[in-house]
Symmetry: C2
Subunit: 452 residues, 2 copies
């Protein structure tokens, strides 16, 4: 039995115990949007790391605390692993087949809020570390963990934390919180994340709701004001109408197009999975769809609320209305700049009554697809997955990789066990346990190869 | 002591007992929009009428039952009294100072959902009948009650019920469910009601909510589709853009303008009461504001719902979005016609994905302000209120007066104890007990005068 076989065998044999730890971790609600269970969850994470001989610390920020942990290893090289212990809100609850905070294994999958995004990514990595420690008694390189509690609310205080802890976080490379496989189970290397600017737009038009028989004729309606303000941001052509919004956008390079072109076709898969009749912007598939998915900024209504929303009819004119809106940003758009342009646009359009609350943001950032660390992670995957890792130069989601790339100067790679039906951010979020095991095995290879 | 003094004195002396009956009636939830407590409430109403020697019957419809009751009197003339036992939903609950279904008297007011609209209007009328019966041992004319349970959801089945019971409902005149005084406590005669067409517009764009990092770029967003569809109905100029919407509108007559002009100025009062900075459409007050309030049809968003509406941010693209929308109609607009035009407009604008659910409607109807019955009600008010009753040719609210006016051929008058701060349809709905007593005394005079 060679050394890797031995480590793989440890991962297989000790899986149940490790999954019990994951269940315990998922059972602890930790909803950053609702500031629920965050301290408790941070304490649990600290304990999980200390169990592996890490020096761990729960460090205060102006928001949820960050758990920082490190353990020295044989070589001088340092690997930084980024995860988050917070999860998305579980609503709508009625669509869950099992309660979101009572993780359950069914048909080779574990279900629960945050199980995929990204609690299992931490435990899979700890499982790999357990295997190495069992075999070697020590780590082959220094490993640091930075595990934050506000990733699902745009990591409001992470950039500040990193700026203040540059020495502590010094490393040679970084492994990102998540990763995954495509619809053919092929591993994927996601190399860049879009930025985000998340706002709540709200209007208070009256001191009180009013009978619509009166209000509708002569008084300002908050829901109408909001509707018109939203419609001024983007029309059916999907073009964002905020002046200057596209000014700083960097178009994809020839190399980006080449990499996107090499990725498998996704159109039919998407339509089936998401129950859509078609795409927007007249897209049908191919490289155009793939480019649109990640290299173009967006403006998305994530939620609307106003007035009566119960059964049947209520004839009331609402005094208040609000919308959750996210803008996905591409290099080099900056959230604060977009915020300023949004305010200027609303004012210019006559919507100075629309209040903007900034709920978080971060700029986009990318890692060079030709970095040697990227190449090593891609190469080691083949042994585990029996398939070449696809290299995706940028993805549509967002995350706080900007300070890792620009403040810490690290190449950032993604690896993990997300898969197309993982339902992150949606009811019945789940992981496939076979993929979870593969991720742990890939981690073992990356740690060992990196340490050389 | 003359006869009227004796009746008034009965009303004053037996007020507490009567208010206890009202409290019991308000304590029974009867929310038509949520189909809650309707049967129980109808049974309670039947019992209240039987207590006064009426023959009462709970009659099934395709919706909530109608309570019909009658008692013969000395003269051949028949007075029909229309009320409803259903109430608006109590939400938002957190804004109530006392629970909506636990009526409470504070500072000369009774608070509770439905106390004003219109449970107290029934009990005040029963109080007047009690006084007459106590004094005369019988009624001076025939009195019929029709008390429905779907007024707050646009009286969906009432027109059908009336069409099928024309003989049973035969009468000489009709007293409407409500009425009231203006901000100077002067009684007001409201002679017409606008119609209504209430719809829920909804969009289902996907089979499931999707992470906004993916969905926002390429998949249809239900909230955006709804926003754009709504914005196509009406712009900031408040002009409704549905082709043909204004075709059947009858402009106010010279007599209408004369009556509206005679009404007191309301502008400052409205702005203060509803906490508004100004009116829409550039209105500032005067006859223009009063005309706009009732003689012009409207399109009001009563509610919006989509995606995530909790605290903080959730990055999700909603698969579903819906809006409650009411159109207030004026003579001669017909709800079914407006519905057809709305569908045609949405289709023509590319919004065939927007589903329309019709939640109820009724056409506008008016009573001739120069009808002798109107004159008698106006004249008898002076004795109670020490003020001339204002005659308002039409009001902004809606109600099912169309079948009373057009199928039964009755003059319909309003009288009651609503007042500007009564908060119908809003939290802390209430009545002023002094006005309640005045309404009962006015009822006594109307019944006696009518019987002559």
């Amino acid at each position: 039995m060679n050394n890797l076989d031995k480590l793989d065998s440890y991962i297989d044999k000790n899986l149940d115990k490790n999954l019990e730890e994951l269940k315990r971790y998922v059972s602890q609600p930790s909803i950053s949007a609702q500031k629920l269970g965050l301290k408790e969850c941070a304490a649990m994470v600290k304990e999980m790391l200390e169990k592996r001989g890490f020096t761990a610390e729960v460090m205060a920020t102006d928001g949820a605390p960050v758990v920082f942990a490190e353990r020295k290893g044989k070589s001088d090289k340092t690997l930084l692993i980024y995860n988050h212990y917070d999860v998305q809100p579980p609503e709508p609850l009625e669509l869950w087949e099992s309660p979101p905070f009572e993780p359950e294994i069914r048909n080779g999958k574990m279900y629960g809020r945050g199980v995929s995004d990204d609690k299992s990514h931490l435990t899979a990595r700890l499982h790999a570390i357990d295997a190495i420690l069992e075999d070697e008694g020590e780590l082959p390189c220094n490993i640091k963990f930075i595990i934050e509690g506000e990733e699902e609310t745009a990591s409001e205080h992470l950039h500040d934390y990193i700026s203040k802890n540059l020495d502590r976080l010094k490393a040679d490379a970084c492994i990102w919180e998540f990763g995954g496989v495509d619809h053919r189970d092929k591993p994927v290397q996601y190399l860049g994340l879009r930025g985000i600017c998340y706002v709540e737009l709200s209007v208070t038009s009256l001191g009180t709701d009013v009978h619509s028989g009166l209000g509708g004729s002569i008084l300002p309606n908050a829901a109408w004001r909001l509707t018109w303000a939203l419609a001024s941001l983007k029309g059916v052509d999907e073009r964002i109408r905020i002046p200057g919004f596209y000014d700083d956008v960097i178009s994809p390079s020839a190399r980006d197009r080449e990499l996107m072109d090499a990725l498998p076709e996704v159109a039919d898969e998407y339509l089936t999975r998401y129950g859509a009749k078609g795409f927007i912007k007249g897209l049908t598939g191919g490289t155009d769809l793939k480019i649109e998915e990640v290299f173009v900024p967006t403006c998305t209504i994530c939620g609307l609320t106003s007035g009566y929303q119960g059964a049947g009819s209520k004839t009331v004119q609402p005094a208040f209305a609000s919308a959750k809106v996210d803008f996905r940003l591409v290099p080099n758009q900056m959230p604060q700049d977009i915020l300023k342009k949004l305010r200027a646009h609303l004012d210019a359009q006559g919507f100075s009554d629309v209040k903007i609350e900034f709920l978080g943001g971060e700029p986009a950032a990318r890692t060079n697809p030709d970095d040697p660390f990227v190449k090593m992670v891609v190469d080691t995957a083949e042994d585990v997955y029996d398939a070449k890792m696809e290299v995706v130069p940028m993805i549509g989601g967002s995350g706080p990789n900007y300070p890792f790339v620009h403040d810490l100067g690290l190449p950032v790679v993604t690896m993990g066990h997300g898969y197309p039906d993982t339902k992150a951010h949606a009811p019945n979020e789940n992981i496939r346990i076979d993929l979870y095991v593969q991720h742990a095995k890939h981690m073992v290879r990356v740690i060992k190869e990196f340490s050389k």
